[in-house]
Amino acid sequence: MTNAKSKPGSILIKGGHVIDPAAKIDAPMDVLLRDGRVAEIALPNKIRGSADEKFDARGLIVAPGFIDLHVHLREPGQSYKETIATGTAAAAAGGFTSVCTMPNTAPVVDTAEWVAWLRDPERGAVVNVFPIAAATRSSRGATLTDFAALQRAGAVAVTDDGKPILDDEIMRAALRLGAELNLPVVQHAEDTRLTERCSMHEGPTSFRLGLRGMPASAEASVVDRDVTLAQQIRESRLHVAHLSTSDALKAVRRGKRAKARVTCEVTPHHFTLLDEDVGEYNTNFKMNPPLRSSSDREAILVALADGTVDAIATDHAPHATHEKEVEFERAAFGITGLETALALAITKLHRAHKIPLTRIVELFTAGPARVLDLRGRGSLARGNCADVTILDPKKRWTFEAAKSRSLSHNTPFDGWQFTGKVVATIVGGKIVYCAD
């Protein structure tokens, strides 16, 4: 096989082990992709007929294309940090075939025009881009945007990410309107009244470093209120973004038990790192929500294993060097994550914590597809979109930030040794990434 990017045609993926949790497949299978669709999936050597291209997947895992519910690709307005072209190239290298972009750009994506702009082929995306639009105008938290128009233009959810909706009435109205349109409301849960001027998690490390700490309760209290609202409003859909605390998980569990349509995502850095890893003010460990305590991380690991968490999302948040090489309290929040997510999941969740690979694949595929109702994605069922992620779960490699496809290199994982690597990423039947 060559490194060249193939034209859309037909590809036969032969000899691989398919893990497709939505279709309950965990077995050796061949997959035929034709005209941007899954044409056939069958036991080894059972697929007749020819294909333009064969992909030898012996020893590899063939999974539905990964979906990232939470990325910041910085366009429009901040193309010095990232562009849709560079961000989706990083996504492809990380095995993601679809990414959901956050609207906190400059300007905020709060109109149908901007949603259409994001989806325009001129942006040069190499993976599917599903815009999540602003829930309120300019994300100011005062007036709802036109959900119906945004949805028609292609928005798959609404959120004021980075600026939580604190006003009870606005949140209630957003969930109500979302319920009418079957549109999820994604909440960045943070009571900002409790986190003013804070730059990390509140605990022994923040006290030692003399940094103002964000209490865990600032997240939990908002999730708690949102879940209560979601329970009250019939058919409303609440998705909790980058959940990071054990108390917030309790609220999500409460909502799920009550059959409310509540879902949540967790980031690789929150299941990997702790607040104390910030060391001596390393700004590549500064993000929001912040790295939490070990008891929070334990709770997240349990919830990833037991099904409470619906998806792993990266919260890929690129920033330029001059925004990170400053005083810790003045540094921008966020880290990149698209190229390290799968490796962290396999290294930390599968190898260290014995979470089965099928569950990990579910967290990257069927789980996120369900959260946002992405039809035809998240599974390799016949007729679905030909989005495929092929990975080697045993491959050992070292991540080098300098070689990242992202425009920015603000990652805490530079130089980390991983097990598990993406071998190829196929979007709509086209190979968009292939490892050397």
Partner: protein
């Protein structure tokens, strides 16, 4: 010799096209370890080294100039107001024969938006041999030190540390108590916002001193006890002061009480060091305060001026202590 020393100064006059190359050189220092002689905090300094510094400080005489640092350039880079720290660092440096320059946030390019790292690189380029930094952000000295090849001395960073204050306090304690062994210290006030308290806790506990932190939960959260081994939290000044050898008070910033549950008169009533509370301490206990003091708030005027107060002695000891810090920074400890 002379030429190389002035290379940085002349570089300023070089034609513009050479600038990018110079900046590149400065950038190549990125993410290095702090230069030898840097003092970023007390936390990671070993007890042995602290005793060495205190011993050196005892040999420093502020009244007799010693040209250990002749022709050395020390820049005092102050992003925050300061009287004691700034003047004593300056006097310490000049007593040792160094040339000092003060750069403050207002009236410099910092006002125009120059970053800390670019300011540091600029000061390095004009020939600074060491930078003494006071900054409102915790960790600012660490950032600067990682990107410069000259020693950085922390003169107070946000709520984090104030190592020279802890050293001069230790100097003062040893002058009055001879040894740290068996000492009991009470620190009363707003520990949460205090870099002085954090540095003092690290320093004293390295020598087995029993330290009690005292104040309302807003100022002394339970988590404060995790800062160092052997720390205790108390809500009652009587309990904290009883049997103490040293009582350290911290300045209470009235504006910090705004929005807190505790009212000013309650704080004064409950936590102020009064003569009667002082009587609970050992008879020879000393009263310390990093200043500036607010009479009638954290302590009464009687206590401040009383025979047990060593507050002005602390200020006085700031000069030899900082002479020792600067001499060590530039490797001139003989």
């Amino acid at each position: 010799m002379c030429a190389s020393r002035f290379a940085g100064v002349f570089a300023l006059a070089l034609p513009a096209p050479l600038w990018p190359r110079m900046m590149q050189r400065l950038r190549s220092y990125a993410m290095n370890k702090p230069a030898r002689g840097s003092l970023l905090g007390i936390e990671h300094v070993e007890g042995k080294e602290i005793l060495g510094l205190l011993k050196l400080a005892r040999r420093m005489n502020p009244l007799r100039a010693r040209p250990l640092l002749r022709n050395k350039r020390i820049v005092l880079l102050f992003y925050e107001a300061s009287t004691r720290t700034r003047s004593s660092f300056e006097i310490a440096a000049k007593t040792l024969g160094a040339i000092t320059t003060l750069v403050q946030a207002s009236g410099s390019s910092i006002e125009k938006g120059e970053s800390l790292l670019d300011t540091g690189a600029t000061l390095r380029a004009v020939g600074a041999d060491a930078i003494v930094l006071r900054h409102p952000c915790a960790g600012a000295p660490h950032l600067l030190a990682k990107h410069l090849d000259i020693p950085v001395i922390n003169a107070g960073d946000g709520m984090h540390e104030h190592p020279s204050q802890a050293l001069l306090d230790a100097f003062t304690i040893l002058k009055h108590k001879k040894t740290f062994k068996g000492l009991q210290v009470a620190i009363i006030g707003d520990i949460y916002h205090s870099r002085v308290a954090r540095s003092a806790c690290h320093l004293l506990t390295k020598f087995g001193v029993k330290v009690t932190l005292c104040g309302p939960p807003e100022f002394v959260p339970e988590v404060a006890a995790t800062l160092a081994p052997g720390l205790r939290v108390s809500r009652h000044p009587e309990e904290a002061v009883r049997g103490a050898d040293v009582i350290m008070l911290l300045r209470l910033q009235k504006e910090r009480l705004a929005g807190q549950k505790i009212r000013l008169q309650d704080y004064v009533g409950h936590y102020q060091l009064t003569p009667s509370r002082l009587k609970l301490a050992k008879r020879d206990a000393i009263v310390m305060h990093p200043g500036p003091i607010i009479r009638g708030l954290e302590l009464t005027g009687e206590v401040a001026d009383g025979p047990q107060s060593v507050i002005l002695d602390e200020v006085h000891n700031g000069v030899p202590t900082r002479m020792a810090i600067l001499a060590r920074a530039l490797g001139k400890t003989k």
